[in-house]
Amino acid sequence: MNRLRKVGVIMLLVVIVSTQLIAADGDSLSPSFLEYMRGPEMYSVLQDTHKILGYTSAALGIAACVFNPVLVDDDLHKMFGSAAAISSAVNIGVGLVNYGDRVFSPEHEKAATRDVLHAALSVAGSILMIAATGVEAEDDEGFSGNFAHAALGIAGAGLMASSIVFEW
C-alpha cells in the first residue's frame, strides 16, 4: 500500500498545481508566470510533452501487462507498472494545464466532445493503473488478489490507449 500512497500523493500534487494554474488569476502565482505557462511559448512545449507522456504511459501499461510475473521477473513487471501509473498521473496534470479550458469551457461545448472523452478515458485509465499498483497480486487473496490486480491493470492500460485513439 506504500506505493499506492506515494503515487496518490504525486497525483494529488499534480492536480493541485495544475488546477491552480487554470483557476488562478494572478492571486497565487505571478501573472507573468501564469501568462507564460499558458501562452504560445509553452503551448507547443506542453503539447509535445503531453503527446510523448501519453504514448509512454500507454506503452508502459501495455508492457506491464505483457511482461507479467508468469513470464518474467516480478521486479520488471512492477517497474513497468509503477512507471506507467506515475507518467499517466503527470500527464493528466500537463493535459489540464494545456487543454483544461478546452474541456471545461462552456463556449467549446460542441467542439470539445472529443477532448472531453479523451480526458475522461485517460483520467479513468490513470486511476485504474494507480489502483492496480496498490492491489498487488502476491500480497492479497480473494477479489483483491490476482484477478483484481490484472483486471485493473489491463483496464487501465486499455482505457489509456483508447483515449489516444480518440484524438487521432
Binding site: 501568462e35 499558458r38 501562452g39 504560445p40 511559448e41 503539447q47
Partner: protein, 150 residues
C-alpha cells in the same frame, strides 16, 4: 565563428508583438506556428505574445492582431480597438478563418482594408503536410510586412 554569427543574428533580431484574444486551439496553433516559422525561415525577428489589448498601448514595435473564430469579417473587439487608435500604421491583421477543409491565403492592402490596416488571411485548417505550404506562405508574408514596419 559560428557562435559569433548566431550571437550577432540574435542581437540584430527585431521585435514584434502578436496579440491574441482568447486561448483557443486556433489561436494557440497559429501563434506557436509563427514562433516556429521565425526559426525555420531564419527571419531576423523576435516575437512576444500578449493576450488581449491591455498592454498594446505601451508597445511601440509592430503589432500583429490575430482575428479568429469566424468564417469571415472582424471580431467586434478588434474592430472597436482599431477604431479607438489614431494611428493604425503599426498594426497588421491576421485573419485565421474557419473554412472547413479548405486551404486559402490572401492579402489585403491598407487601402482596400475595411479595418484600415494591412491584412493577411488564411484558413484555420491544420493538417500536415497538406496545409503546411499555406501556413508557410502567410507567415512568410507576415514576416515581410513586419520588417517593412520596423
Amino acid at each position: 565563428m559560428c557562435v559569433a554569427l548566431i550571437f550577432t543574428a540574435g542581437l540584430s533580431a527585431r521585435n514584434f508583438t502578436v496579440v491574441y484574444l482568447d486561448r483557443t486551439e486556433v489561436n494557440m496553433e497559429a501563434t506557436s506556428y509563427i514562433k516556429k516559422q521565425i526559426k525555420k525561415q531564419k527571419a531576423p525577428l523576435k516575437v512576444s505574445f500578449t493576450n488581449g489589448f491591455s498592454k498594446v498601448d505601451r508597445i511601440t514595435d509592430p503589432v500583429v492582431i490575430i482575428n479568429s473564430g469566424r468564417a469571415a469579417g472582424l471580431d467586434p473587439r478588434i474592430e472597436s480597438f482599431l477604431s479607438s487608435q489614431s494611428d493604425t500604421s503599426r498594426f497588421i491583421l491576421v485573419n485565421i478563418y474557419r473554412m472547413g477543409r479548405k486551404t486559402f491565403f490572401s492579402t489585403t492592402s491598407v487601402v482596400d482594408s475595411s479595418a484600415g490596416v494591412d491584412e493577411i488571411s488564411a484558413s484555420s485548417y491544420y493538417d500536415d503536410p497538406k496545409t503546411d505550404s499555406m501556413h508557410q506562405q502567410w507567415t512568410a508574408e507576415l514576416f515581410r510586412r513586419v520588417q517593412e514596419k520596423l
